[in-house]
Amino acid sequence: MDMLLAQHLLNWLVQGSILALVALGFSLLFGVLNVIHFSHGDVSIVGPFVALAVMQYLLVEILPHTWASALILAAAVAIFATGCLGVALDWLVIRRFRTAPAMMALVATVALGAVIRELIRMLYPQGSNPQPFPELMSAQFEIEGLSVPISTLFMFAVSVLMVAGLYVIMHRTPLGMRIRAVAQDRDIARLMGIHPNRIFAATFFIASAVGAIGGIFYASSAGLVRFDFGIQLGLIGFSAAVIGGLGSMHGAIIGSLVLAGIDTLAQATLADGAAYRLVFAFLLVILVLVLRPSGLFGKPVFEKV
């Protein structure tokens, strides 16, 4: 295979899988709560910041640790902490809009995103400045001119595993069944003895923890992280979920791959493509919304009269 084509494909796969981890959260939360959680991108970016903070603590306080194991430990703490943050945000803010019109929850989460961003900026030392973020693994190998960093393979593998794991949780465990039951009909689920609030908390934990993995991968693949990365990550992740169809898990994955594909394609083939990469991505969003308002895999919504 052409070396350049292979390199582009690799770039596309990694970008798409990072995006999918964030888009999945949007889709999951929308499916279960009927809420567009617009601060999900910002929540996800809390992940790399917690990981950095923990890692610096580990390196300073509990020496000697090798760099790699410190990073893995720090990432684990960050993923758990971000999951808890999601639950806390639901409890503090979002749960107050359970019965309110969807628009109110949407506006509240937009505001919540701004609060999270500014809190990162305030609380993290030198929070306004970009923070260098280490690679997950530094080794790389080369096959016939195609250079493959191990970390890209790792990120791709973890993303696939996460998606598989989520699928198993949703379809093979009692928790997943309850989540799906609540998503289908909150009231009937309650009649069946399911506590919707516990299910919401579990959903928020899963979505935010998976988002944190996406955030950590995003930071690691860029090589740095900044307090406002959540805006773009959230916007693109949300768009990917919309393309795939909000509420559909495989839709979120396909949507992410499509969006990353357009982005890579525009940059690789068009003369001035790089400057307008986001234009093409968002044009696609508009196109999908016009032609298939419920996304590629979303179920059409019927308004009950």
Partner: protein
């Protein structure tokens, strides 16, 4: 009880009076002088903060030294504001300065897009403004009467770099990556033009928005060309990301640029991949005045180290102070005119401005390279 309280209050009153009396009796000529304010704007937060903080401290040092001089006719208060490298924030800061009637004049900006956004604001309210760090030619090409600039334009840095790349490095084909701001597009065009003058060709030009974190697609595209080096025309954070991803993709070729990413931040982001990156940068001068500036800076004990722009902001502040001393604060138009016509002998040498307000101090450029995680002068 009541009596006790009264006496305590009386005691407090007496103490206060005494304190005021002591304060007043200090030989403080400063208090007889009218107070004026001088503004500084720069990126003191965000990815370019190192540049902005060093410049801000240079500005503060100049103001403090003026205040310490008995013969300076005003007590000067420094107003330092952040533009965070963001045009919108910059205009907000500029509005704050021009809306304060006690602010006489100001100096500002490291980022060209920010400067281009704020100079109309200063021009509208006729506030004399010196640019200390932004280097897009467009800033002085507009010839706004209140605007002058103490730094050379990006043309002055790109021309020698292009010549050096073609002649000394002997490269013929280059790929250009830059950001889509005025600064980035200005660099991309300037370098391509100068490189062509010396027989080089640009095989690929890629402009990406500021804030881009993924250069892999563009770098892969460059991998498919016969480029011998990458010229990057943007600033620190993106430069670091680009360099790191360049190494990741196994694109083993030099990375060149101008002062825009001559910063330790570039190295901390790119990590080991930073090695060998080269920039052209105005050669460090050594004269008694600049040595004194750095000694004073050290003695003052700022929390941040000097940045390459400390000296520019220091001279910009001193030019404003000198002009204010000469012309006074009443007539802003006369003040701006006086600055244009000034012949100021400072740390940068003798600054005079051309018909557009651009400094006429010639620049000698030297090549800096990253070696062992540090920027050093390139041994020819």
């Amino acid at each position: 009880m009541k009596h006790y309280e009264m006496s305590r209050r009386a005691l407090l009153g007496i103490t206060t009076l005494a304190a005021v009396a002591v304060a007043a009796s200090f030989p403080a000529p400063a208090q007889n002088k009218p107070t004026i304010k001088l503004g500084f704007i720069g990126p003191v937060s965000g990815g370019n903060a190192q540049q902005g903080l060093g410049a801000r401290n240079g500005f503060l040092l100049a103001v403090e030294q003026a205040n310490a001089r008995a013969d300076y006719p005003y007590r000067v208060e420094a107003v330092t504001l952040d533009d965070a490298s963001d045009p919108q924030t910059g205009v907000g800061a500029a509005m704050k300065l021009v809306n304060d009637p006690t602010v006489v004049s100001a100096t500002g900006h490291w980022n060209s897009p920010v400067a281009l956004a704020t100079i109309p604001v200063f021009n509208r309210s006729e506030m004399p403004f010196i640019v200390w760090g932004a280097i897009s030619p467009k800033i002085t090409e507009q010839n706004l009467p209140v605007v002058t600039r103490v730094t050379p334009t990006l043309l002055a840095e790109n021309q020698p770099l292009a010549e050096w790349t073609a002649k000394k490095l002997g490269l013929k084909k280059i790929a250009i990556v830059s950001d889509t701001s005025d600064y980035g597009t200005g660099n991309a065009k300037a370098f391509a033009d100068f490189f062509a003058d010396h027989g080089g060709t640009t095989v690929s030009t890629n402009l990406l928005p500021v804030g881009t974190t993924d250069f892999r697609a563009v770098l892969t595209k460059i991998k498919g060309t016969d480029a011998q080096a990458i010229y990057f025309g943007g600033v620190i954070a993106e430069a670091g990301i680009l360099r790191k991803q360049q190494a990741e993709l196994g694109l083993d070729m030099p990375m060149l640029g101008i002062s825009g990413f001559y910063d330790p931040g570039f190295i901390s982001i790119a990590g080991a991949a930073a090695e060998g990156a080269m920039v052209s940068y105005p050669a460090s001068q050594s004269n008694p005045k600049i040595d004194k500036l750095y000694a004073d800076y050290k003695a003052r004990g700022f929390a941040e180290p000097t940045s390459p722009y400390t000296k520019y902001a220091f001279d910009a502040a001193n030019i404003l102070l000198a002009a204010i001393k000469e012309v006074g604060i009443k007539d802003k138009a006369a003040l701006a005119k006086h600055i244009r016509a000034i012949k100021y002998d400072g740390v940068l040498g003798t600054t005079t401005f051309d018909a557009n307000g651009q400094t006429k101090i010639p620049v000698k450029v030297e090549i800096k390279v990253v070696r062992d995680g540090k920027w050093v002068a390139k041994e020819d």
